[in-house]
């Protein structure tokens, strides 16, 4: 069953369309990745699903019911993990979760049980009485999640839940996302970290300029760009590199430089590696390593949008 159905969704701020006639479905039980660069329209779409913003046009259905007309039902069943930490630093971890869970109508013993369950789930069961201002960044992120899951929502929207935390906490959160999914929650997950999306998402949509430009499993997305490949060449220094000459080599689609690494996207069927290496030698490059990359999500994203995810 579809948990979310979006049809013809548009959100305009003045003349600017942040979301432009978007259509999308999320099935129950999915971990759905929402990929897009800053300003692509991800957060606006998420905000409309969470009833924080009203669409200019189009509709969103949650479990078959129009969200605009059934906001209370939708809100009762959706949990929101905002990108920015949304917790009270002057209230203990327990009080934070209790306050937000209390907004969903829980009281007394049931409220207490749900708060303890949520805190235990994110690994803060033994930190209940502590103030978040004494927490590490990762612990605050986990508390941010606990505040969103205590009412046991069917859909959890996670907007960049791992920003700025250590690898250990990130791993904990990713495992928690998987565990929540195993427990029956559908997850709508946005991230700037492509590897996270690849690791946990069962389906992915790429958003650009307010539209969904590709949607499918990661295998399906990678299959879109079977006609291109990426060549990574590590050099001692890129000083003196003539990018224009490289781009003129037959089959080369684009050239990017990341520190001492030259990333060349090329058409897959053309064997031009020898020409590329010769050109680099002519430019005085000292080559350290050459690697031909299989298409990954980053390549897909770059091919489809023409820019990096972190642009």
């Amino acid at each position: 069953m579809n948990i979310i159905e979006i049809g013809g969704l548009t959100k305009k701020f003045g003349d600017f369309a942040a979301v432009d006639n978007m259509s999308l479905t999320l099935k129950e039980g999915e971990i759905f990745g929402f990929l897009g660069a800053n300003g692509a329209g991800k957060s606006t779409t998420i905000s409309m699903i969470a009833s924080l913003l009203r669409p200019t046009k189009g509709e969103i259905k949650f479990l078959g019911k129009n969200i605009a007309k059934n906001a209370h039902f939708a809100k009762m069943n959706i949990g929101m993990v905002p990108q920015d930490l949304a917790i009270y630093e002057d209230m203990s971890a327990y009080e934070n979760v209790r306050f937000f869970a209390g907004l969903y109508g829980f009281r007394g013993g049931e409220l207490k049980a749900r708060v303890e369950e949520a805190l235990s789930f994110v690994g803060l069961g033994d930190k209940q009485k502590e103030l978040p201002k004494n927490f590490s960044g990762g612990m605050k992120r986990r508390l941010n999640i606990a505040c969103a899951i205590a009412h046991r929502p069917k859909l959890i929207i996670m907007d960049e839940p791992t920003v700025g935390i250590d690898p250990h906490s990130r791993n904990y959160i990713l495992q928690s996302v998987k565990e929540l999914n195993r427990m029956g929650c559908t997850i709508l997950y946005t991230s700037h970290y492509m590897e996270e999306v690849e690791e946990i998402c069962t389906r992915i949509a790429i958003v650009d300029h307010g539209k969904i430009i590709a949607d499918g499993t990661k295998e399906q997305l990678k299959a879109i760009i079977t006609d291109s490949k990426e060549i990574w060449i590590d050099v001692k220094s890129v000083e003196g590199l003539n990018q224009e000459q490289l781009k003129e080599i037959r089959g080369v689609l684009s050239v990017r430089i990341e520190e001492q690494r030259i990333k060349i996207q090329s058409r897959a069927e053309i064997g031009n590696l020898n020409d590329i290496v010769q050109q680099l030698i002519r430019d005085g490059m000292e080559i350290r390593a050459v690697e031909e990359q299989a298409p990954n999500l980053e390549t897909v994203f770059l091919t489809l949008t023409g820019r990096n995810l972190r642009d």
């Binding site: 969470a50 009833s51 924080l52 913003l53 009203r54 906001a71 209370h72 809100k75 009762m76 959706i78 929101m80 905002p82 920015d84 930490l85 949304a86 917790i87 009270y88 630093e89 002057d90 209230m91 306050f99 937000f100 209390g102 907004l103 969903y104 109508g105 505040c147 969103a148």
Partner: protein, 372 residues
């Protein structure tokens, strides 16, 4: 239920905040102490009842009213207030302007016209309270007489003329500097509720918790009502604490009508909370704090928080009437020192009217926004 849930959170977090205690409790008490004690000698508003003089003229009054007035004047004289019949040919209003008298009353069957000198706020408040009390009692007797019923006093064997008495001012109920500053600081700190209220909603925005609140099944009205209720209750707690502390620690006189005094102060708090919320929503963040701080300081200065405003004339004197502190101080002082509870009710009405307008502005702004 969610309104109470949100209000409870506001109260609990405010009570944990040490700076709230310092600002809402220690600050007014310290000012009360400093101003009330250090300036007691220089405090011209420390009025001795013996110093108060009022002139009157009786014009076309019935014998009953004339007798009643005389009874009132005698009772007031016993308390030390000098009430003099205006010498023939003298202009009473001019005499008040020239500060020969604190007030002037023209008594007739059509009513009592009372003229006071705005430079003698405390004296005129006391006299106004005494006169209102007299008029209320006289009207009561007149109503009994018109209805042909026996008055309670007549039942006790007294004549109706004897009934027309004002309550005598007891020698102890003269306002000294501590009494004045207890009232002035309490009404001032009630207005300061605006400052903390400005961040009630805006702080949710800066902490990003507004996203969670808006994503929860809670209406914007419930969130707003919870904030108003929480802000009002927490400030009301501190106002009552200041009153009690000033009474028990400094012996400040809060009169015989504490319910009416509380009504004035609580309605002032509601108005201040509405004012703070509106300023917070219009100016956002620090700009609202600066605006409120400037407004409250000016309102406090011209409203009589730091010294009686009797000496103000001209422009400052004129704008002082627009300071919420002026009408609240006046309402409380007339109630405490003159026993005029109607003054408290008027002040409460002004406060509630102001609160209604300000809260309506807030609701209008909230409805225009997509998220609160």
């Amino acid at each position: 239920m969610n309104t109470l849930h949100i209000a409870k959170k506001e109260i609990v977090t405010a009570l944990r905040n040490k700076s709230t205690f310092i600002f809402m409790l220690a600050f007014p008490i310290a000012l009360m102490l400093i101003l009330g004690l250090a300036l007691s000698n220089a405090f011209s508003g420390s009025v001795e009842i013996d110093d108060i003089k009022m002139a009157y003229k009786i014009d076309q009054a019935s014998p009953a009213l004339a007798a009643g007035w005389q009874s009132f004047a005698d009772a007031a004289e016993e308390s030390g207030v000098t009430i003099e019949a205006l010498p023939p040919g003298q202009d009473g209003k001019q005499a008040v302007k020239e500060a020969q008298y604190a007030a002037y009353a023209e008594v007739s069957d059509q009513g009592i016209d009372f003229y006071d000198n705005s430079r003698s706020t405390i004296e005129s408040n006391i006299l106004q309270g005494m006169l209102t009390s007299f008029a209320d009692r006289y009207n009561l007797v007149a109503a009994y007489a018109n209805a042909g019923a026996s008055s309670p006093a007549s039942d006790a064997g007294q004549t109706s003329v004897q009934l027309v008495k004002t309550s005598s001012l007891t020698p102890d109920s003269k306002p000294n500097s501590m009494d004045y500053y207890a009232i002035a600081m309490t009404t001032m700190i009630a207005l300061y509720a605006a400052l903390s209220s400005a961040s009630l909603i805006e702080s949710e925005r800066s902490r990003h918790t507004i996203v969670r609140l808006s994503a929860a099944p809670v209406s914007k009205t419930e969130i707003f009502a919870g904030k108003v209720l929480g802000g009002t209750v927490i400030n009301a707690i501190f106002i009552v604490a200041v009153m009690l502390l000033s009474h028990f620690a400094f012996g400040a006189n809060w009169g015989d009508h504490p319910g009416h005094v509380l009504l004035v102060l609580l309605t002032e708090v509601v108005m201040a909370v509405g004012f703070g919320l509106a300023a917070g929503m219009i100016f956002r963040n620090k700009a609202s704090q600066s605006f409120l701080l400037i407004f409250i300081q000016i309102a406090s200065f011209v409203g009589g928080a730091y010294f009686p405003v009797d000496d103000f004339g001209g422009f400052i004197g004129a704008i002082s009437y627009y300071s919420p502190l002026r009408w609240n101080n006046s309402g409380v002082m007339q109630t405490v020192f003159g026993g005029d509870t109607s003054a408290a009710l008027w002040a409460a009405c002004y406060n509630l009217a102001g609160a209604a307008v300000l809260l309506a502005i807030c609701m209008f702004l909230i409805r225009r926004r997509e998220t609160i």
